[in-house]
Symmetry: C2
Subunit: 212 residues, 2 copies
DNA sequence: CCTTATCTGTCATCGACTGTCACTTGGCAG
DNA sequence: CTGCCAAGTGACAGTCGATGACAGATAAGG
């Protein structure tokens, strides 16, 4: 399985070339300032070929995103039965947020995600695309949750609400972690966010205390 | 204030012309199939002028979006002090979801939102833009919630988590309502969604019961 | 080998969007 | 009323992302 045909290997090769060339250019020049022609040049490929690999310029950065969601979903589905939904979601999320990994490949993926985060924050077009991928991930999460609970996604509001709330918690935690206390481990902030999520009822019960 | 200068009136006029021309063309031909040139022609304006009014083709449909969020925010801030946060969010949302209004202008706005909903569902580009606006609205909601509770948005995770969860609830309810039982009033579904939100804790406590 | 499906480069084209410049016109002071 | 200023517009040219069509190259498999 290491060598799956010459054709496949070459495809993988040009794909990787396109990705790393893009990353390098995006980081040095910025996303908007980099043209597809430049990427194609740097990757020794025609511009037309770029679009045979990626539907849009933004998509280069989200090549591994789907796989990451796969990992999360697998982690969720592997949780022991009998555990609560909240705990299962929390642990599955923490599993993929774990920064220290023995696997070299995993570490690369997380460094990659880190750079993507910076770039997304710097470009509106990328931010849009990111939102779109997040939305898709959220929908997949809702499907998984519905399956775990054995309920129908099309008639029950709960899976999507839970998925959205959980994703918002993680997202908010990550964002806060990025812009302030990076000395605290990310997993701690995520844990805190999940804790809040499980006590949302209390938050919603807080009486309004409008300032004068 | 009815007539605020000839110049202002003319601007309002071409803006309206662009919007209604866009709507008409989008509905009949679809969003992607409609070019900016066609819109400009129909509105008796040069294509360049279109982009002086709207930054992108999609933005024509979201011209009133900001105002709608303003309304929601005003409704939220006007809730009586002492009421719970959850109740305040629910009632503010129901206030703007109310389909029957004496105000002619309001009724137009809701018909408009209805058409936008259909179009967004039919075009990926519009869906992206819609997500972006939703995200901005969510952020504004978080700011408002932080203000109501008198807490700091930059150190406390709660406002954003609550905003995201509430928005997801409304969004899910609306979507479900659209694709199935439109005989039930929308407000009822929204109410149900909020009810689930206030009992999220219980949902998260459900033990996993994976199917074989 | 040799055929065939796949992949790629070249070329042409479309449409969204932007910068620039000249022209028109409403707002306003004198 | 008149002339100046700034705002709004049109015309033009150009960039860039994205797509379709066709022809040439090259792995895969008999």
């Amino acid at each position: 399985m290491a060598t799956a045909g010459l054709r496949e290997r070459k495809k993988r090769q040009t794909r990787d070339a396109l990705i790393s060339a893009s990353m390098r250019l995006f980081v040095t020049q910025g996303f908007e300032a980099t043209t597809v022609d430049q990427i194609a040049d740097a990757a020794q490929v025609s511009p037309r070929t770029f679009f045979r690999y990626f539907a849009a310029k933004e998509d280069v950065l989200f090549d591994d995103f789907e796989a990451e969601v796969d990992r999360w979903e697998a982690a969720l589905l592997a949780r022991p039965r009998g555990e609560s939904l909240g705990a299962a979601l929390r642990e599955a999320t923490l599993a993929i947020a774990e920064p220290f990994s023995s696997d070299e490949h995993r570490r690369d993926a997380q460094r990659f995600a880190e750079i993507r985060f910076e770039l997304v924050a710097s470009s509106p077009a990328l931010a849009r695309r990111s939102l779109e991928f997040d939305g898709r991930a959220q929908e997949r999460a809702a499907v998984a949750i519905a399956r775990l609970l054995g309920i129908d996604l099309d008639s029950d509001l709960r899976p999507r609400i839970v998925a959205a709330a959980a994703m918002a918690a993680v997202w908010t935690a990550t964002r806060l972690w990025h812009q302030s206390d990076q000395d605290r481990p990310l997993t701690a902030v995520v844990r805190e966010a999940y804790d809040l999520l499980e006590h949302l009822e209390e938050v919603l019960a807080i009486p309004l205390s409008r300032l004068p």
